[in-house]
Subunit: 307 residues, 2 copies
Amino acid sequence: MTTITFGKLAIIGLGLIGSSLGHAAKRKNLVKVIAGFDADADVRARAAKLGFTDTVTETLEAAVKDADLVILCTPVGAYKSVAQAIAPHLKPGAILSDVGSVKGAVARDVGPFVPAGVHFIPAHPIAGTEFSGPEAGFASLFDGRWTILTPVPGSDEGAVAALKAFWEGCGAQVDVMEIAHHDLVLAMTSHVPHLIAYNIVGTAHELEQVTEGEVIKYSASGFRDFTRIAASDPTMWRDVFLNNREAVLEVLGRFNEDLSRLQRWVRDGNGEALFDLFTRTRAIRRSIISAGQDTAAPNFGRDKPKA
Amino acid sequence: MTTITFGKLAIIGLGLIGSSLGHAAKRKNLVKVIAGFDADADVRARAAKLGFTDTVTETLEAAVKDADLVILCTPVGAYKSVAQAIAPHLKPGAILSDVGSVKGAVARDVGPFVPAGVHFIPAHPIAGTEFSGPEAGFASLFDGRWTILTPVPGSDEGAVAALKAFWEGCGAQVDVMEIAHHDLVLAMTSHVPHLIAYNIVGTAHELEQVTEGEVIKYSASGFRDFTRIAASDPTMWRDVFLNNREAVLEVLGRFNEDLSRLQRWVRDGNGEALFDLFTRTRAIRRSIISAGQDTAAPNFGRDKPKA
């Protein structure tokens, strides 16, 4: 997979994912040249020093000009205006893709602007950290993780295959899925977990009887895990919830039903039901480790046994 | 803190915490001799090979005989019967303590059996991993973490000071707190976060529209963090919820109120409110890292940038 698959790659949005994509593409020489653009001049200046692109351009137009592959890496809330701005400058035959965590809204916001002859293939790499900005990116972010392509009906098979090869070159495994199903799966595996993490951290912040100092000191008892997720980029996550509302509310409804049942078990002192649930959930952890999607080290390896 | 503070330590229950306590006490020679007991013969046999005690006894009586410090490390549901069994054999002047995650129930279950002249001081080290059993323990588990002592009214100050010194010798920082407040603080920082983690993993397991294979493959998008907590010892956690019902239900009530509000923000598309919450929660993460209670490495350091 070290063959050059594209001539010019344009990365629009130079945060955690955009910068990681640049590093990953350069690691295996997947493209001849990478141009990057970010709406924030400060981010552009910092990105230019980091070397994950060959050039950082002052305009969207300059970034996408002659690009064979254009990948939107901004928060999804910005996609519509970006798509509108770049559409006239896209090269015929180019692939336009993205990395957004929701896909229905992307098809809705970007689709109408895509010129004939340009292949629009939404995509979503399932990878990230709680850090943001161009300095947060690294080449191995996608290694062993899954990237989901959600081609719109009638997509060119060759273009889909080329994009798949690109992501594999970045270290990812690739799946293809329908847009609506993607948005439901991610509501379950990502969006609702984030919502819940944000919520419990918010509750701890607002609870009068427990001080913030206490929450922080004793966080190693479980709470601190939630704070990592609840430290994710606020703009990105606001846009996720604004753009995957139906699926999030559907999964959240199920979560709430299940939590009411669990609450009743606690109230009734139903030890057997609690034990059964806690045993089932333990098995899922083991499957995730077997699938290579998490470390088997205790506490994620962060509290290492010392000599 | 390398002076010998106790002659004989008895560890009752040789799982993750009991074994870590043995390793930690031996690391700094905090006691002259350690006796261990576990109700499970297989655990006793495995523990005897691991070297974190000097002897593993066949009976509770033999373990606590002549012990200056007895620490209960079984699930809290077993405390009452253990306390009843060991009470006649406790040495006058000995300290009886524990490591349970709830303290009101411990005072209720153990207190009535404590003979005159024995110092009963409940305690709770805020440390652990998702693994169980004598092999899971390690000497540095308590390093830099907090142990909370919850002395009952009228406790001997010298005994409290000796137990504090013991835990500091194990690497912990020590706080003293009232029992009821401990149980509320831990409901917030530990019990409700665990309940929520168990619940979301259960929801993912039962949701018909998303397969278990999909949940596992795409878990790196956030879900996998919850599975670590939801892999914690089922017996221990059943006992926590059975024994801290009121505080858990109180904090859970607040969590539910806050989640309803958040759900409404999603439904209404209230991006400003979402962004504000997500920004506040990010700050709490930073405080936890500054306080040395978690790593600053992205993704807890588990997905390390590779060369």
